[in-house]
């Protein structure tokens, strides 16, 4: 079939890339306006139905091929499906889609028959494929073993996917198309309502009106700070300059966050549309997408997207005949966490070391090469198109008083349904963890949830009814951050978590300002000393240093907070401060009782053999690298505590569960 471009850019009407057609997007969805060739209109209608999978002759098989799908074996499943189709001579279309968010259940395969609803199957392995194809396509039934739900109305045989608790409580604006459409096809995006926002902005709105609309919607930056996006744009719009820039910050380095990757992989056109609207609003003619090097698939997709948009005249010179020009470029990061900070990101694009500089002047006044620049995160920009299409009031009706819209969270850690979710602002942490996330697996108890990556904090059960919005989270000592949501169960040691985050920050500190470079290092040393074992001869200096460190810990944290140059440094002590606030007892237990009840801090553990359960098989004694286990064959063994180096080999190798540690 012909593409939208071929259908609408016909020679008769004289449209070409040099002479763009302003009504292009309207024509794509509603039929041609300029000449009334009924055949073309019909073709467009048919094509739209095909692209939205309302009407097709062959069965369509959708496979989730984001990085998460590929990593769990979607590639092999696809090959197997192709083989089975070939073998059985079945004609069907295979479409690679992005990630629907339910990453715990990948690979996900959806099948839609010409006259049926789209039915989703999860955790499909190559072994399932034959039976799956047989039951669904040949016998037109449901493959019950792996069914997840149907996109249509639920019935006795299969429940609706919208009733699945994982999807039921979500509200999707940013992730609307993720996992539904083919991220490589521009036509499919247009048929699903894409580029309507850009179309509306260019034809019907002045730049100031666009800025006003975003300001009224109450959209706030989704990258961490939560600054009003509209305000940022307003500053940039007010600047008088020949050249302005728009930058998309896709350098998502926060541990535990992967929503930007998913948007880049599963719905890249939405981001490009958002950027184009942003550029139009502030009067920028060039833009950069700064994507981290760890996301190769995302970089490939976004490059492909930019090229397609250029072919369609949706990027480049004189976009849709409006006289507005925009060039977009992708800049690949090189593995530096600090480049997520906006001034460091600018330095990196300019080819310097990615180090922040003091603000003001803010980038909106003097940014890339000294020109006014706005920097928005991927999720923020992915919201823009929907706001322009549906209006600021619609967006402002979702969420709480001060935090509007939805937020995407990346659930990971000790949670049953890990993956990406999008919820309206204002739901409680409890809802996210237990209703959507399905609670803690293996019957363990919930201990804490880490929100906002290294800048955020760990929240315990006592504040689990906190609503998810910028102010409430800050009040309890965490922050929205980019939306990492790491759940921890009772087997996690909070001192160890604090140590982990301090190691991370200390490694990633760019080294420009002293409080962050030296302070985080000292803080890490203090934390590291907590679970260290006393020397046998009772080294007094070591003990003294440990207590001295603890006394100064809070003050040091405050100094770092108050005096660091950039946001990363200022928020660096948060993991420790929130730990001290909510898990003080755990720090005290480590210090006074010299015990780690989660069983994580190795130096504090004591391994023991239960004489009743030990059969004297001698496996542990043979495995022990320091010969700390003694005992005769067929008699219970014993661990010499002073010799034990706590490597855990005996525990791992015991077949009778006779070894325990505390």
């Amino acid at each position: 079939m012909k593409s939208f471009f071929e259908l609408i850019y016909c020679k008769e009407c004289g449209h070409s890339l040099e002479n763009p057609y302003p009504e292009f997007i309207t024509c794509c969805t509603k039929g041609t306006l300029c000449h009334h060739d009924k055949n073309v209109d019909k073709e467009i209608e048919e094509y739209n139905k095909k692209l939205t999978y309302q009407k097709h002759n062959k069965p369509v098989i959708f496979i989730g091929m984001g990085t998460c799908g590929l990593a769990s074996g979607a590639g092999k499943v696809k090959v197997e499906i192709e083989n089975v189709l070939k073998e059985q001579k079945i004609k069907a279309d295979i479409v690679s889609v992005g990630c629907i968010g339910y990453c715990a259940k990948e690979p996900i395969v959806d099948i839609k028959l010409p006259d049926g609803d789209r039915v989703s199957y999860c955790e499909v392995t190559p072994k399932d494929v034959k039976e799956l194809i047989d039951t669904t396509i040949n016998k037109k039934g449901i493959y019950k073993k792996k069914v997840l739900g149907t996109f249509g109305e639920g019935n006795e045989e299969v429940t609706s996917i919208h009733d699945n608790p994982f999807f039921k409580y979500q509200k999707k604006i940013v992730l609307q198309n993720c996992g539904i459409i083919n991220p490589e096809s521009i036509d499919e995006y247009i048929a699903h309502g894409g580029f309507k926002g850009l179309d509306k902005a260019l034809r019907l709105m002045k730049p100031a009106e666009v800025v006003d609309e975003i300001l009224r919607s109450g959209l706030r930056g989704r990258g961490g700070g939560g600054f009003l996006t509209g305000k940022k744009w307003e500053f940039a719009l007010q600047q008088e300059s020949e050249q302005k820039y728009v930058i998309c910050n896709a350098d998502e380095g926060d541990p535990g966050a992967f929503m930007d990757r998913s948007v880049l992989e599963s719905d890249p056109y939405k981001l490009v549309e958002g950027m184009a609207i942003a550029a139009y609003a502030i009067g920028a003619s060039a833009g950069y997408i700064y994507c981290r090097a760890e996301y190769p698939l995302a970089i490939e997709r976004i490059n492909n997207t930019i090229n397609k948009c250029k072919e369609y005249g949706l990027l480049g010179k004189n976009i849709l005949g409006s006289g507005f020009n925009l060039e977009l470029k992708v800049k690949k990061g090189a593995g530096a966490f600090v480049c997520g900070e906006e001034t460091a990101l600018i330095a990196s694009i300019e080819g310097e070391r990615g180090m922040p500089r003091p603000r003001p002047p803010y980038p909106a006044v003097s940014g890339l090469w000294g020109k006014p620049t706005i920097i928005n995160n991927v999720e923020t920009l992915a919201n823009i198109a929907s706001i322009i299409v549906k209006g600021a009031d619609w967006f402002a009706s979702v969420g709480t008083e001060k935090s509007k819209g939805t937020k995407v969270f990346a659930l990971s850690g000790k949670i049953a349904n890990s993956g990406l979710i999008e919820v309206p602002m204002g739901v409680t942490l409890n809802d996210v963890i237990f209703k959507i996330g399905g609670g803690i697996p293996n019957g363990k108890k919930f201990k804490a949830v880490q929100i906002g990556g290294p800048s955020g904090g760990c929240l315990p059960e006592s504040v689990i009814e906190t609503s998810v919005d910028y102010e409430s989270l800050r009040e309890v000592g965490a922050m929205m951050g980019s939306g990492g949501f790491v759940v921890m169960d009772e087997d996690t040691c909070m001192v160890d978590v604090a140590r982990y985050f301090m190691t991370f920050i200390q490694n990633e500190s760019c080294g420009k300002c002293v409080p962050c470079r030296e302070g985080t290092k000292r803080m890490l040393e203090i934390i590291e000393r907590i679970p260290k074992k006393y020397q046998k001869d009772g080294n007094k200096l070591e003990q003294f240093q440990r207590f001295k460190g603890i006394i100064h810990l809070r003050r040091l944290a405050e100094v770092i907070q108050n005096t660091s140059l950039c946001g990363l440094g200022q928020s660096a002590p948060n993991p420790v401060l929130s730990g001290l606030k909510y898990f003080r007892h755990e720090y005290e237990e480590h210090l006074y009782e010299r015990k780690c009840s989660a069983g994580v801090c190795k130096d504090l553990l004591v391994y023991k053999i239960d004489p009743k359960a030990c059969t004297g098989c001698t496996v542990c004694a043979k495995k022990c690298p320091v010969e700390a286990i003694v005992g005769e064959k067929k008699h219970p063994h014993h661990i010499i505590v002073d010799k034990c180096i706590k490597c855990g080999l005996c525990y791992e190798n015991c077949k009778f569960n006779a070894i325990s540690f505390k």
Binding site: T67, C68, L70, A71, S72, C103, A104, E106, E252, G253, D254, P255, G256, A257, F258, R261, A293, E294, Y295, P296, K331, K332, G333, A334, G335, A336, F337, S348, I349, E350, G351, E352, R353, G354, A410, L411, S412, G413, K414, S418, G419, L420, Q450, G484, V486, M488, T492, V497, Y500, F501, F504, E508, C510
Partner: protein, 157 residues
């Protein structure tokens, strides 16, 4: 280094400068290209890049040493990057790390003698929901167990 080798390198760097331009902002793409093809950016190449971009070699070195994906030292054909992020740590990264170290016979931060593998830690690569995860060159592997990791390395070898 032989003079002919030097000339070939100069020519290559010259071509890259033509491709990416000779402005300062082209520096990182040029270095990334060199890194991708040669697995490291040698002293000589750094000097050449500096000469062609008309900046001081120290500036080039400061950039190469700042970013973890650029390296002034020779690296292996396959760069194995294990994620050290909190989710991966919670789900048993430690054991996988030990298994990989044992399999390759090197510690983190080192390169095997045959210049085939370099082992490194990396920060979050966004596979937290399927942790632990690692990346070999540009391919991501997730849901690792010590056995699975060793198996993957054997396949790569």
């Amino acid at each position: 280094m032989l003079i002919s080798e030097k000339q070939a390198l100069t020519e290559r760097v010259g071509m890259l400068v033509q491709k990416y331009g000779n402005s300062r902002s082209a520096l990182i793409p040029i270095l990334q290209d060199i890194q991708y093809n040669f697995k490291y950016v040698s002293d000589f190449e750094q000097q050449e890049v500096a000469r062609l971009l008309d900046i001081h070699p120290v500036e080039v070195y400061s950039v190469v040493s700042f970013y973890s994906f650029l390296s002034p030292n020779i690296r292996g054909k396959y760069i194995v990057r294990l994620c050290q992020t909190i989710s991966c740590e919670l789900s048993g990264k430690e054991k996988v790390a030990k298994a990989i170290e044992r399999e390759l016979g090197i510690k983190f931060g080192e390169t095997t003698k045959d210049k085939k593998f370099t082992l490194e830690y990396t920060n979050c690569m966004g596979m937290c929901d399927q942790s632990p995860a690692m990346m070999i060159n540009e391919k991501v592997y997730a849901n690792l167990t010590p056995e699975k990791a060793v198996q993957i390395l054997k396949e790569v070898k």
